[in-house]
């Protein structure tokens, strides 16, 4: 079974530029997540989709970050304009259903490493 696919794997941009990350979840997974992981920290949830609807985007800096999941499959995360503190790994993940009290396993991709200089 194919895992969560992400691209690009690495990206270096200057501050104030824009960047976009793409994610293809595991086939059949209804829920898709974007996490930000800063070096030395645990992943922090940015946004969670159930099919193509947003379930939680409370920690997404909406003045510069945006995400969409058209057709309920692939997703893109965009940062515009980027700041130095956005340097992090952006992890996409998916789960079969919405992870409420059932405790569904979340499957992570390898991540997209962003360096803002």
């Amino acid at each position: 079974e194919a895992g969560v696919a992400q691209s690009p794997r690495y990206k270096i941009i200057e501050k104030r530029q824009s960047v976009a990350f793409w994610c293809n979840p595991i086939s059949g997974h209804a829920t898709l997540y974007w996490y930000q992981q800063i070096l030395g920290q645990g992943p922090k949830l940015l946004i969670q989709f159930q099919n193509n609807g947003v379930v939680d985007d409370s920690q997404l800096p909406k003045d510069r970050f945006s995400a969409e999941r058209l057709k309920g499959v692939d997703s893109t995360l965009k940062i515009q304009p980027a700041k130095l503190e956005d340097s992090a790994v952006y992890l996409c993940a998916s789960s079969l259903v919405l992870q409420m009290h059932s405790g569904n396993t979340i499957y992570f991709g390898e991540g997209s490493w962003l360096t803002v200089v």
Binding site: G40, G42, P43, K44, Q48, D56, H101, G103, F108, G111
Partner: protein, 109 residues
């Protein structure tokens, strides 16, 4: 807001010994707690889930305990191997998974 505490210092042990990692949380108890393994440059990989009404869960050489009174989960790896060297993240579920900073485990031959 919830605070998740894991040892920020790396844990160094010798091959064959039991590694014990700690996860503490504040405020109210989670419905369940998950443990993940993360290797350098890779995404986290799910290992175990333990629910609030379970005291202990085992999977091969892994054991997780959950003490809601102490607000703590312990993660044990018995007969540790160098291949177990990685960062281990705990993630209690408080309406959503909240990840700790992780503890790096180094197993020496």
């Amino acid at each position: 807001s919830q605070k998740i505490e894991q040892n920020s210092e790396a844990l160094n042990i010798q091959e064959g010994k039991t590694a014990t990692l700690t996860c503490n949380y504040t405020n109210y108890s989670p419905a369940y707690l998950q443990w993940y393994r993360q290797d350098p440059g890779r995404g986290p990989v799910f290992l175990l889930l333990i629910r609030e009404n379970e005291k202990e869960k085992r999977k091969e050489r892994l054991k997780v305990t959950f003490d809601t009174t102490l607000k703590q989960s312990l993660f044990h790896i018995t007969a540790s191997q160098p291949a177990d060297s990685a960062t281990y993240l705990c993630a209690p579920f408080f309406q959503k998974l909240v990840f700790g900073t992780g503890t790096r485990l180094l197993v020496s031959p």
